[in-house]
Subunit: 226 residues, 2 copies
């Protein structure tokens, strides 16, 4: 079902689900875990060592029951009356979300968006780093960007092998998205982040995440005064 | 609390909450409502007229109880044994999320990211449209991009007035983000979407949403095979 219909978050989340690993987890749970991890990181910065589900719920406007339920699925972390050890829980969530591993990335399509992402701080710290970029525009090939030289898109397989890229980032025109998803999968990347506004059919074993920047606008719109 | 600590989704969501309108709603609820709306739109495309919370839960891997609870807060939509009228519910969620209103937007910072967003489909259909862009680089000012001409950033107030922009999109270097948030607020925009990777202090009445593109990578990383 998730493959039908137009490109949207629904399908994308559905795909994730279909391809999810032994540990079944819903997209909204994953979103919450990611959110909890951000909360814990902020608490670490504030120098806190422990927090109860009640306090965490209050601080971040969450449900304490939901927090306990979500975290209980992955083992026993909280101690009744004491709360969660923040470092321990953050470390576990890091590992659960795969953030304790290094994820070198290759960008396919070094236009405006690709170039911006190559320099984007969030794509270049911690577990993630953009290590290579390709394009099919001869005017771009050979140019140095953010620590690497843009290579010819026809050499993608070689670029992936040489750079060790595990994630492919698609910032190509819509009509080229499926072709380069397939090329990335053939080249051996383990997952693809797609910024192209088109539905791409993923293969088993090479998960696809479609990025919909519009959702940020929709979330903002809710808070605008009439 | 939400204003302390480094830039991350936590703080941003916290700000939203602090500034939220009379109808109090948690960031995770908002995220779910936005997700439900996407589900409903897909169901509309599939030609469905009604759906029960159970069927919706099953299709999209959600909790039927959660769906009923979330939607019940905003009025009575479901009919027991019949389900939700999809068009009616989608229309209500559209209105609730402010998507039935037109949101012209101005982009501040017409570099790679700003230029990409000016042409981005998701920022240019339905309720949203990029109508203007400014930069402080003389080489960019006067250039035509996606239906408008880049104006001088010092003329921002005039640009906002003349274009009727209601949302400002910040794609400036970190060090300039606060300055241009303030300039946008002074110019009368109703909300700001911030792509700069720095914490901006918002004013009451001009909600700020920080976009963290990294979260997409984190969500993808979870699904990568070892």
């Amino acid at each position: 079902m998730a493959h039908r219909g137009d490109r949207d978050e629904v399908g994308e989340r559905g795909e994730h689900r279909e391809q999810s690993e032994p540990q079944e987890i819903s997209p909204l749970t994953l979103n919450r875990l990611s959110f909890y991890l951000r909360c814990l990181r902020q608490l670490q910065e504030l120098g806190k060592a422990r927090i109860s589900s009640q306090e965490m719920a209050q601080r971040y406007h969450l449900s304490a029951t939901q927090i306990r339920k979500d975290l209980a699925q992955f083992g026993e972390f909280g101690i009744r009356g004491v709360g969660y050890q923040i470092d321990e829980l953050a470390e576990h969530l890091d590992a659960l979300l795969g953030l304790d591993r290094h994820h070198p990335m290759v960008i396919v399509g070094m236009g405006n968006l690709g170039s911006a992402l190559a320099r984007y701080v969030g794509f270049n710290h911690g577990a993630f780093q953009v290590v290579a970029g390709v394009d099919n525009d001869p005017r771009k090939i050979g140019k140095a960007v953010a620590g690497f030289t843009i290579r010819d898109a026809t050499e993608l397989a070689d670029v992936v092998r040489a750079s060790g890229a595990l994630i492919g980032v698609l910032t190509v025109p819509s009509e080229a998205a499926q072709h380069y998803y397939d090329a990335l999968a053939d080249a051996g990347v383990r997952g693809v982040l797609n910024f192209a506004t088109v539905r791409v059919k993923p293969r088993p074993g090479v998960p696809l995440k479609n990025v919909d920047l519009r959702i940020n606008l929709e979330e903002l719109a809710f808070f605008l005064k009439e």
